[in-house]
């Protein structure tokens, strides 16, 4: 009972600190919400549409104009300019006006009609992988269609039925099922990792920061005294208010993306809540551990920020972990965001059973209890260390 009372006293003290120092309000509410708004608005389109592309049409025939019209009609591309030569189109790419262009050489229509197999080319830039592969997809489709149109015309003239024509042109059809994200929506795919990642970054930093500030303003002794020298009580009292604020923040985020934006969540709300709780506990655990390891405000915060920034890459959501070198693959285990992402995509996004993600579940639990071995060191630091600017 006494422990509970001590925790309550320290929690009240912590709430006062959180309100008094404005930086907490900024980092625990305002900045994470700003990032949430940033990612969900910038990726609102889902799939980039109407990417600017160009054409170099030296043929000028009705066939080439038809190709260009069809390219323009695609959702993904918009023909913004025609260039008189390949050199000028390339220059336009280097000036960032277009992402790719279709080159139709002189005499294409003639050669096509005379069965001399003409060649058209499309040039695109992979300097940005996203826009490059999208433009490539459209340009590729249009050229395949161009080829098919010729075959279609010939066969129709010979009196084949539409079904026969289709079978001949495409004997094997691919029936694609994009599980859980049938729109291949980039918002679903990026916002669900980067926004929680930024929230974890703030949880790391704020945990280390709030411990360090006790040292900096020499309130550490008073804090430990309030817990009657019991460091576990002191830590619990201090971090329960923070965990509650962060949990509310995450609850709002979950409500916004699943409730308002209707992101897919096959796993249901039970898993979403479990994941949110684990996310908060593991991140705070990591922050406390970092401070316990290096009980100095600036060192622990540097470690936390460097770790958090790296975790965006090592979570393996953009570039898969299986494509990385094996030492790096092993390193990803040390990043809470990696376990969060895996747990999210297995249990919430795809709705598979939790047992298939047990390793990552255990990983997040391990981060939660990670401060255990350094608790004594934190107490020692609070009682004896002096802050040096």
């Amino acid at each position: 009972m006494k422990y509970l009372y001590d925790i309550w006293i320290i929690a009240k003290r912590e709430f006062k600190i959180l309100i008094a120092n404005r930086i907490y309000g900024f980092c625990m509410i305002l900045f994470p919400l700003l990032v949430l708004v940033f990612f969900t608005t910038i990726l609102d389109e889902g799939v980039p549409e109407e990417l600017p592309v160009g054409v170099v049409d030296l043929d000028g025939s009705s066939t080439s104009r038809g190709l260009i019209r069809r390219l323009d009609a695609f959702q993904g591309s918009r023909v913004v300019a025609r260039y008189p030569s390949v050199a000028e189109a390339r220059r336009a790419m280097q000036e960032n006006e277009i992402y790719g262009f279709l080159y139709i050489p002189r005499g294409t229509a003639d050669a096509l009609l005379a069965s001399r197999q003409p060649k058209v080319s499309y040039y695109y830039s992979m300097a940005s992988v996203t826009s490059g592969s999208l433009v490539m997809k459209d340009l590729k489709t249009i050229s395949t269609l161009g080829s098919a149109a010729v075959g279609q015309a010939t066969m129709r003239a010979r009196g084949f039925t539409p079904q026969q024509i289709q079978t001949f042109l495409q004997p094997v059809r691919i029936d694609l099922h994009q599980i859980a994200n049938p729109w291949s929506n980039y918002n679903v795919y990026l916002s669900t990792v980067f926004v929680p990642g930024v929230m974890m970054l703030f949880m790391f930093l704020i945990s280390a920061y709030s411990l360090g500030m006790e040292l900096k303003f020499s309130r550490g002794k008073e804090w430990i005294a309030k817990a009657d020298g019991n460091i576990l009580v002191a830590i619990l009292g201090k971090f329960i208010p923070q965990a509650v604020v962060f949990a509310l923040l995450i609850a709002f985020y979950e409500y916004y993306i699943y409730g308002v934006l209707r992101f897919p969540h096959e796993g249901g709300w039970g898993m979403i809540v479990l994941l949110a709780v684990l996310q908060v506990l593991a991140s705070i655990g990591f922050g406390i551990f970092a401070f316990g390891l290096l009980p100095s405000l600036r060192m622990s915060m540097s470690v936390c920020s460097l770790w958090a920034v790296l975790s965006f890459s090592l979570a393996g959501s953009a570039f898969p972990v299986m494509g990385m070198d094996s030492p790096i693959q092993a390193l990803t285990w040390l990043f809470p965001l990696r376990h969060y992402y895996m747990l999210y995509q297995i249990t919430v996004f795809n709705g598979y059973p939790l047992i298939d993600a047990w390793f990552h579940f255990a990983g997040l639990v391990a981060f939660t209890i990670m401060p255990w071995p350094v608790l004594r060191k934190i107490k020692n630091a609070m009682l004896t260390y002096v802050y040096i600017p």
């Binding site: 900024f26 940033f38 608005t41 910038i42 609102d44 980039p48 549409e49 109407e50 990417l51 000036e95 992402y99 197999q117 003409p118 060649k119 058209v120 080319s121 499309y122 830039s125 992979m126 300097a127 992988v129 826009s131 490059g132 490539m136 050229s143 080829s147 010729v150 075959g151 289709q166 495409q170 094997v172 059809r173 691919i174 694609l176 099922h177 994009q178 859980a180 994200n181 291949s184 990026l190 703030f202 930093l205 360090g212 600036r298 540097s302 920034v309 890459s313 090592l314 393996g316 959501s317 953009a318 570039f319 898969p320 299986m322 790096i328 895996m342 795809n350 059973p353 298939d356 600017p389």
Partner: protein
């Protein structure tokens, strides 16, 4: 002559401030981490992470219900492709799904039982592809391989059906129009080569801002009144303070900038098409803009650690606003407006186009112009905020001086009074 003497004095003062700043940068371990260690180590780490550039041999599971020569040839061709590896066979879709769930494979190819039958009956046959959509790159590998193989099989069917005599005729029937796809920049389509130039530029700006902010925070905390500008005869004038400090940061980051923009791409053989002189002309305004941006931000910081809370989290939004992860043409206008505040937006764009796309300086002229405008603006703002800080310092100094004078006055008055008392006695 006095103008020259004043100028010489200002120069000496700026040099003194430069020396103080240099000394502090190398003595303060927090600053040292962000000025030296992070710019040196992070690029290597990131380069290592994205070293393999592309994902090859994505594991898939095959559910072959057709058990025919045609289905086996489909599977063999998929397995032979560079991007996909057939790692398992499953007897039905549920089995296959449980393999996806356990992260053994990333996708499923389902070949229905009537696959060969339909092909031989000259009806359209279907192969179902199920993709785990949690990773776009593996989804693309699985889907595009299936597409390519189905087209190749289709071509073979067409050749058999068309009944032409020569190979040339067959080629023309199946592909009346030849298509050449040319990825002209970053032809390997590597993820690392695409994103790392931007990351390198961001590291430069972010470490500069963090380092300058930490240095400013330390300066404040060392000061008795929490002022940014110390009381010292050399710190007398905005120009020499901003100039002296900027000189120190520019000297450190001229080295780091060269390392990030020239050495790292060479070490990891990322695209490096820019001419050295072009790179120099582009990096100079970027470095200057970043330094003055950092100095402006550093005046906002009350405690030294707060700068980390302010600066670290914007790295990721900044990466998106450069237009490498999400096409620049599709970024909403208001975020484009916000992105103009940060030097990294233009620095990264100019660097990518010069170095990865072989553009000339005239192609990146708008970006260069914006960076020079930013340099001028942030220099002006840095002068303004440092002027404000200087005024605060002077006010504190005068208050202290007044206090000391009054103290002395009161003391002497007290002395007089007590001496007077003695006399009266």
């Amino acid at each position: 002559m006095s103008i020259f003497r004043d100028f010489y004095k200002a120069l000496l003062d700026a040099c003194y401030i430069w020396r103080e700043e240099m000394r502090q940068a190398f003595r303060d371990e927090g600053v040292l981490i962000f000025f030296i260690i992070v710019p040196l180590v992070y690029p290597l780490l990131y380069s290592w992470v994205y070293n393999n550039e592309v994902v090859r041999e994505v594991p898939v599971v095959v559910v072959d219900q057709s058990h025919s020569q045609a289905s086996r040839s489909f599977i063999r061709m998929c397995d032979a492709s560079p991007d996909v590896r057939v790692s398992c066979y499953a007897s039905d879709l549920d089995d296959a799904q449980s393999l996806v769930s356990r992260q053994v494979v990333k996708g499923i190819y389902l070949i229905p039982s009537d696959f060969a039958e339909r092909l031989n009956r000259m009806e359209q046959a279907t192969v179902s592809v199920y993709c785990d959509m949690s990773l776009i790159l593996t989804y693309k590998a699985i889907y595009q391989t299936a597409m390519a193989v189905s087209q190749e099989m289709g071509t073979q069917m067409q050749k058999r059906l068309s009944g032409k005599y020569t190979a040339r005729e067959e080629m023309i029937t199946t592909r009346p129009l030849r298509v050449d796809e040319v990825p002209i920049f970053n032809p390997g389509g590597g993820y690392g080569s695409s994103i790392l130039p931007v990351v390198l530029m961001l590291i430069l700006q972010q470490t500069l801002v963090l380092g300058i902010g930490l240095a400013a925070g330390t300066a404040r905390e060392r000061n008795r009144y929490g002022d940014l500008v110390p009381v010292h005869p050399c710190y007398d004038g905005v120009g020499r303070i901003v100039g002296g400090k900027a000189l120190c940061y520019i000297m450190i980051f001229a080295v780091m900038g060269a390392y990030l923009s020239v050495a790292v791409p060479r070490l990891f053989s990322f695209p490096q098409l820019a001419a050295p002189s072009d790179l120099l002309l582009m990096m100079t305004p970027y470095l200057l803009a970043s330094v003055f941006f950092g100095m402006t931000v550093s005046c906002l910081v009350r405690y030294r650690e707060n700068v980390m809370l302010l600066v670290v989290f914007i790295s990721l939004p900044l990466l998106f606003m450069t237009g490498v992860s999400w096409p620049q043409s599709n970024i909403p206008g208001y975020w484009q407006g916000v992105s103009w505040l940060f030097p990294s937006t233009f620095g990264a764009r100019a660097f990518v186009r010069l170095n990865s796309m072989g553009a000339s300086l005239s192609d990146v002229l708008p970006e260069l112009r914006y960076m020079w405008i930013q340099t001028a603006c942030y220099f002006g703002v840095a002068c303004l905020v440092y002027g404000h800080q200087l005024r605060i310092t002077r006010r504190h100094m005068h208050e202290r001086l007044d206090y000391l004078r009054k103290k002395r006055q009161v003391r002497s008055q007290l002395k007089q009074v007590s001496e007077g008392g003695h006399l009266h006695k």
